[in-house]
Amino acid sequence: MELLVASAIGVLTAAGLYLVMRLRSFPVILGMSLLTYAVNVFLFASGRLTIGASPILTDGVEVYTDPLPQALVLTAIVISFGMTAVVVMIALGAYLGADDDAVDDPADDAPVEDVQ
């Protein structure tokens, strides 16, 4: 089971990295989402894997999974939504403003000379 989770994290990371290195904003955003999954699952897995032992206190039950990573990941999921939304907005603004969704600056885009 551990191998399944570890390989899933690996696959998500690899796919995320590949897409983040693409040249258009949409795949980059998808790649970031995949990386978010990978990171969230990784953080969650830091509590180690437990099956059938939810952190809901019940009389007579002694074994629970680690609740702390879950709480941290829960907020991380919500925050990553906010982050994705902002990035999408920026990408959209860039595309609508320039009619181009490339993420790299064009090579001839020289920096502006500073004004004294």
């Binding site: 551990e2 899933a8 994290i9 904003s25 990978a38 180690r48 680690d66 919500v78």
Partner: protein, 959 residues
């Protein structure tokens, strides 16, 4: 008055002038004056204690772990400087009120001035050197604002930048020096450091600390070779020059040298560095000053020269030198501020500061003439004026100082400096006020209103009083000197008097004054020689250095940072993998402590789906809609995985977030192209693939190692499990952690979420108000639109489902404390319910029924959560302490009421507001894109069509 209040008053007062700007100039200046006066009186209430030789202390721990405490100390030295800062500040404010013209924004000016005043008072009262550094940097910043106050003048902007660069660099050096000093002494409190003279001077780090601290002092006090910024800072309005660049800020470096005198001085290093720098600055400043034609530039270089004089006195390291330095600080502050104000008056009345265009003003401006002449003569060192007294003491001290083994070097240089100093004073008087009346002044000069001449007049009265009756100032100066010397030396016995007999200092003084007069007679040929002699221009050198730094930085940045974000991603990934691999290979890995758990078929199926969806996404990512569906599958599988591994809360959150994220991306895709073109080369795709696979393998290896080993120490989770019910009153530990144990984190998080949503809203507003708007309006949808945009089935369904979903959300919210659920999840569920209304019935219909704007909902959420947290203050507990109680209202069962529920309500509201505001902003773009907006909830409405037909029939009938 408490020392805290004295420091805080100017800072808080700085808020007022801006507010009073509307109330008129008188009110604006009046309020500033009142604030300063209050601080001044507050300072004076401490006078008896200080005169009794005691030290007033005030202390609040700030960051004790860093040794940074808000400790203030008022001894005679601090009192002396604070008196100068606040006293002259009062005069400057009165003067500034008349000086500033109607076009100048007075509120802005006085706000900066008060900020500066507060920072200065902070420096001189700090007992903690880290706190002192904070105030030190604040003076640099506020003086930057003041020098550049006339933003329309290029000289003002350049001068401000130069001053900030030089003093800022010095400040950085000083940070290093102070940290070293604190490390040596083991404390950052001055009162401790000053007791450790032997320890500090014996340390091998003494010299680096000394050099770094002196760099800070020399840049601030414009000592050679950092003297050049001061004359350029003269582009500031004259009140600023009079205040910052003669009486206060430039004395900050000197203050610090005096403050550190007991521990830093007395060593050969201190003596050589400080005395030499002071001596060179003194002579150089005096020589340049003589040949300046701009009144303020002349005064600026003369200030440089006098600061050099004081520095040299401190450098000698003798008690008498320190006393002379303190006395000269007092005298210089009085006559130089008066001179600056007089120069300002001349400038104000004649519209020029060029000495070559002035002369003969004696008849036209008798009051100004009297003030300026007395002050200038004092500066020249004429008897019966205070400048004479301290200059005599300086010459006396110079007479005894042996530098580089020479008995002659210091006395001769000091005499030469005094000689030029006398010469430029005579030139100032002679060429501005004496001589024949001219008829080509740019304006018709006359004496200014009383508001402008009274402040310098008060200072000149002091000049004369101290000059004639020096014994009045003696006890105070000796008290200050005692504070400077600390336990390092005794206060000298020497008396302050005009006639000391025929001592060498008197002869040197006579040489200086007579020499100065002689120089004036040969001034014209001298000036010609000066102007034809080539000499290095400090400003050009400074600008060359800056240009070199800029081109170096630009070269570095442009080669490493070329705007290709995909390259950054690759570099980052490789770096992280290599660093991780190095750590992994060079470290040790413990034995596995956990058993591999058996794979179940369900898990395997889920894994297969996740991997398949992810891989398909990579290969099919060019088809964007398909990619979106595939990422949805991946997200869903992650949620299912959370359920499988005992994390129901996470699963619920991930699932609901997935829904809103996909809707969001769909909205975005509405505008973006549907396909990603093939752009990168085969090689590049291979390269990225290799990097990605490497990164994937690395993370996998790390996770795998991690999962098979237990934590080395007991996880703190045990505490949460044990106390969740007892302390937090909830059985859902995850929720209790969110709203109780780590409630502060959650509070910060909902604020971040709210800010993100507001940011999206702001970006949308910007887009819609800019040129993009026209493009959006003219945009042709690239896909055929559905004829039935608001299908009746969906409208009906979503409306029926709405109350049900709200009820589910409410239920999930309430059970959150004990069962999976809570504010986050409930917020997301309710958001989805509302989004469905938008989708089914259209934007206009839904927004028309919206009673509260989403901004308000976010705000309400943060407010509710915050107020819940603050509530615990009223029962004397820290922020966000939770409380719960079981109550029973018949006929219901016993149930729990917890403050955490109110906090969770805040979370709920913030999440709903943030999600909705983001999505609404996106859809507003879409809405403006294709103009017709369904006014009706349903496109097909038989009743409406009948009515239309009826109207048409009526019209036809009428025709």
């Amino acid at each position: 008055m408490s020392l805290f209040l004295i420091v805080a008053l100017p800072f808080f007062g700085a808020l007022l002038p801006g507010l009073m700007n509307q109330a008129g100039r008188k009110a604006c200046a009046g309020i500033t004056f009142t604030v300063s006066l209050a601080a001044f009186i507050g300072l004076l209430t401490n006078l008896p204690t200080v005169m009794a030789g005691e030290v007033v202390m005030a202390r609040v721990d700030w960051v004790p772990s860093l040794g940074l405490n808000f400790t203030l100390m008022l001894d005679a030295l601090g009192f002396f400087f604070a008196l100068l800062i606040l006293g002259i500040g009062l005069l400057i404010i009165a003067y500034g009120r008349s000086y500033l013209s109607r076009d100048d924004n007075m509120g802005e000016f006085f706000t900066y001035l008060l900020l500066f005043q507060g920072a200065m008072v902070g420096i001189v009262l700090s007992d903690n050197i880290l706190l002192l550094l904070v105030f030190w940097e604040l003076t640099s910043l506020s003086s930057f604002l003041l020098i550049g106050y006339w933003k329309h003048l290029p000289e003002g902007r350049q001068g401000a930048r130069m001053a900030l660069t030089v003093t800022g660099m010095g400040g950085l050096a000083m940070v290093g020096g102070m940290l070293i000093l604190g490390q040596i002494a083991g404390s950052y409190d001055l009162s401790v450091i000053l007791q450790n003279r032997e320890l500090i001077q014996g340390s091998p780090l003494y010299l680096p600390a000394l050099i770094l601290i002196l760099l800070g002092c020399f840049t601030k006090s414009a000592q050679f070779p950092f003297h050049f910024w001061l004359p350029h800072a003269m582009a500031a309005p004259t009140p600023v020059s009079a205040y910052l660049h003669s009486a206060t800020m430039v004395k900050a470096g000197i203050f610090l040298m005096a403050r550190m005198w007991p521990v830093l001085s007395g060593t050969p290093e201190w003596f050589v560095i400080v005395t030499t720098a002071g001596l060179v600055t003194m002579v150089l400043g005096a020589v340049i000053a003589l040949f300046k034609h701009d009144l303020k530039a002349l005064l600026a270089f003369s200030t440089v020269s006098h600061l050099g004089l004081i520095t040299m006195l401190l450098g000698t390291g003798t008690a008498f030198g320190a006393m002379a330095a303190m006395f000269h600080i007092l005298n210089h502050a009085t006559f130089k501020a008066a001179l600056f104000m007089s120069a300002g008056i001349v400038d104000h009345e004649t519209h020029t500061r060029d000495i070559r265009r002035l002369g003969g003003l004696r008849h036209l401006m008798p009051i100004t003439f009297t003030i300026a002449t007395l002050a200038a003569l004092s500066m020249a060192g004429i008897p019966f004026l205070n400048g004479f007294l301290s200059k005599e003491m300086m010459l006396e001290e110079a007479h005894h100082t042996v530098l580089f083994g020479s008995h002659w070097l210091v006395p001769v240089m000091a005499t030469v400096g005094s000689l030029f100093s006398a010469a430029y004073c005579f030139r100032l008087i002679g060429h501005t006020f004496l001589g024949a009346k001219r008829d080509d002044y740019p304006a018709k000069p006359h004496d200014p209103p009383a508001g402008m001449w009274v402040p310098p007049a008060i200072l000149v009265v002091l000049v004369v009083v101290i000059g004639v009756l020096p014994h009045l100032a003696e006890p105070f100066v000796k008290l200050v000197t005692a504070a400077v010397l600390g336990e390092a030396a005794d206060v000298p016995k020497a008396y302050f008097k005009i006639w000391h007999g025929l001592v060498p200092a008197l002869y040197m003084s006579i040489i200086a004054v007579v020499g100065g007069l002689v120089l004036m007679t040969v001034f014209k040929p001298l000036l010609k020689t000066w102007e034809t002699t080539p000499r290095p221009e400090a400003k050009t050198i400074f600008e060359a250095i800056i240009a070199a730094a800029v081109s170096l930085a630009r070269g570095l940045i442009l080669t490493s940072h070329n705007g290709a974000f995909s390259r950054y991603g690759a570099v980052f990934a490789v770096t992280v993998v290599v660093a991780g691999a190095y750590a992994f290979l060079s470290g040790t890995v413990g034995e596995t402590t956990r058993e591999l758990q058996p794979v179940t078929p369900v898990a395997l199926a889920g894994w297969a789906m996740l991997v398949a969806a992810t891989l398909a996404l990579v290969f099919q990512h060019r088809n964007r809609l398909l990619a979106l569906i595939l990422i949805g599958i991946a997200g869903l599988m992650v949620s299912v995985g959370f359920v499988f591994f005992s994390a129901p809360d996470l699963a619920l959150t991930q699932f609901t977030v997935e829904v809103v994220t996909i809707i969001l991306l769909l909205l975005a895709l509405n505008f973006l192209p549907n396909r990603t073109p093939v752009e990168s080369s085969q090689f590049r795709r291979m390269r990225d693939g290799v990097i990605a696979v490497l990164g994937g393998i690395a993370t996998m290896a790390m996770s795998y190692h991690y999962l098979l080993r237990d934590a080395l120490s007991t996880p703190i989770s045990e505490f949460h499990l044990a106390n969740s019910y007892k302390g937090g009153g909830g059985t859902n530990v995850v929720n209790v952690i969110l709203v109780d144990f780590r409630g502060f984190d959650t509070y910060g998080e909902i604020i971040v979420l709210g800010i993100a949503a507001l940011l999206i809203y702001a970006l949308t507003e910007t887009l819609l108000s800019g040129p993009v708007r026209a493009r959006l309006l003219n945009r042709k949808p690239d896909q055929p639109r559905a004829g039935d945009m608001h299908p009746m089935m969906m409208v009906v369904l979503t409306r029926v489902i709405m109350p049900v979903v709200l009820m589910v959300g409410f239920y999930i919210f309430l059970r959150g404390h004990n069962e999976p659920g809570g504010g986050f999840i409930a917020g997301l569920i309710v958001s989805i319910a509302v989004i469905m209304q938008y989708m089914a019935s259209g934007f206009a219909w839904t927004s028309a029924r919206l009673r509260y704007p989403y901004h308000g909902v976010i705000g309400a959420g943060v407010l509710v959560a915050g107020l819940t947290g603050i509530g615990s203050w009223f029962v004397g507990r820290p922020f966000l302490t939770s409380y719960f109680e079981y109550v029973r209202i018949p006929p219901f069962h016993k149930f729990e009421l917890a403050t955490a529920a109110a906090f969770d309500l805040g979370v709920f509201l913030a999440v709903v507001g943030a999600v909705m505001l983001s999505l609404e902003s996106f859809s507003r773009l879409a809405r403006r894109a294709h103009v017709p907006d369904a006014e009706h909830p349903m496109d097909i409405d038989p009743s409406r069509e009948q009515a239309l037909a009826q109207t048409a029939a009526d019209l036809k009938g009428g025709a």
